[in-house]
Amino acid sequence: MTTSFLIELTVLILAAFLGVEVISKVPTLLHTPLMSGTNAIHGIVVVGAIIVAGIPGQPTWLRIVTLAAVALGTGNAVGGFVVTDRMLEMFKKRKPGEQEQQEA
């Protein structure tokens, strides 16, 4: 085991605790946007895909594989954020006095 691995493992464990902490505060009302939002966040694999796609001197088939990963990751990230925005835009609170206005 190396020090850098232990640091990575530490980061992982802390991220797990932080994730549970933050996400348990999300109301059930917003669970679908939470899922699509975290969906967008795992689109971060696009970073990994770009790194492997940018390695020089790869055979053509591997180039295709890595570029496919870039395509999947990009579509995942962009689509995830767009659909989450679309959903969150719809959540509106009742305007104060709305009922009176309707009666008038």
Binding site: E8, L12, V65, N76, M87, L88
Partner: protein, 463 residues
Amino acid sequence: MSRSDGISLAYLVTIVCFILALRFLSSPARARHGNWLGAFGMAVAVVATFVQPGLTNYASILVVMAVSAPIGAYAARAVRMTAMPQMVALFNGVGGGAAALVAFADFHNSAPSPDRLALNNSVAIVLSALIGSISFAGSMIAFAKLQEVMPGRPITYPGQKVGNLALLAVLLGLGIAVVAGYERQWVLGLLILGALAFGVLFVLPIGGADMPVVIALLNAFTGVAASATGFVLHENVLIVSGMLVGASGSLLTLMMARAMGRSIANVLFGAFGQLQVSAEAIAASDGAVRPTTPEDVAVMLAYAQRVVIVPGYGLAVAQAQHAVRDLATELEKRGVDVKYAIHPVAGRMPGHMNVLLAEANVPYDQLSEMDEINPEFDRTDVALVIGANDVTNPSARNSPGSPIYGMPILDVDHSKNVVVLKRSMNPGFAGIDNPLFVDPKTVMLFGDAKDSVEKLVAAVKHA
């Protein structure tokens, strides 16, 4: 500060943005800003990655991104809200597939070296390939079931569990072989193919009603796969982001299973929906149902003080959300207090029903969670159950023989009157009879949900 320090700092900005994005989701008022922050963080990460030293092949990467980004955006714009579960399943699969491909590519680039891979690298490659592939294939099957490209009911055959377990054992064996030093590409290739097969086989026996659990679980898988990719490439941004998603997916999986009153193992391996209707439930259904007319219901609603609407997936299928919102508006004009009671598994994914009602302009402060609304049913004049069945079934509370015994339900039977809008007397998704329908307090309004609710709106106006 070196260039790689700069890149690491940029990634740190991304991590903070993602965490804040999730934090902002704790209130509907700020959630949208959080999402923008998340998108900004993603953009920062992508730009930072492009200045990585030694990166080549810019042109083709940029072209691929320029093509796939609008496709993702278009799909996200075009999808209907009822189809959100499919969309999320698809994105889960796509993310998992990308993680597996990255692991495979990195293995190809680093494995044929004379030295063995460091243990942590090979473990990470195997996990990323394995979990990513399972997530990809499993999500595609979940997508196909939700999209009704293939039947949503559980698909079972003899020896299924044993076969799946054997396959999983083989996959673990292959993984251990790679980690132990047998670093051949065909082994990892076989592992990926086997994991794809396992993904398919493991979702096949899970029924449509259990999809909220499966989608949440696959979401967790994809997150963990992305996190493993971070260990492969030694990038903290992937480790943290992937783990945040993993934590979220795991929590949601637990919550959904709890909302169904079942263990995760039971959901995944139980092939629910295959269960026969219990004799007890059939005996209970001997009582007579009382059909009613929209006019009678309208009078009951118009002169009530408190009405609770209980929407189920049947409401979404009938596209009755807008009609229901009109009904609530009409009732409120007459001074009736109207609330919506949302069961956690009312849709096909966690929180789905809230989104469907928000789309129909129902203000979110009218939407009440199960624990919040249950004590209020005692003071409710009319509970209007629209397209919901199992989540209102009192057998879950008081008949230990029922397949859904122990599932937390909405206590609609505690209200003074219950009106059930239903297409016909078929049992619900889980194939279980509902004693609520023969309760003396219950009347049934048969017909298409949208049609029935529209008639109710018209009748309330004249009541």
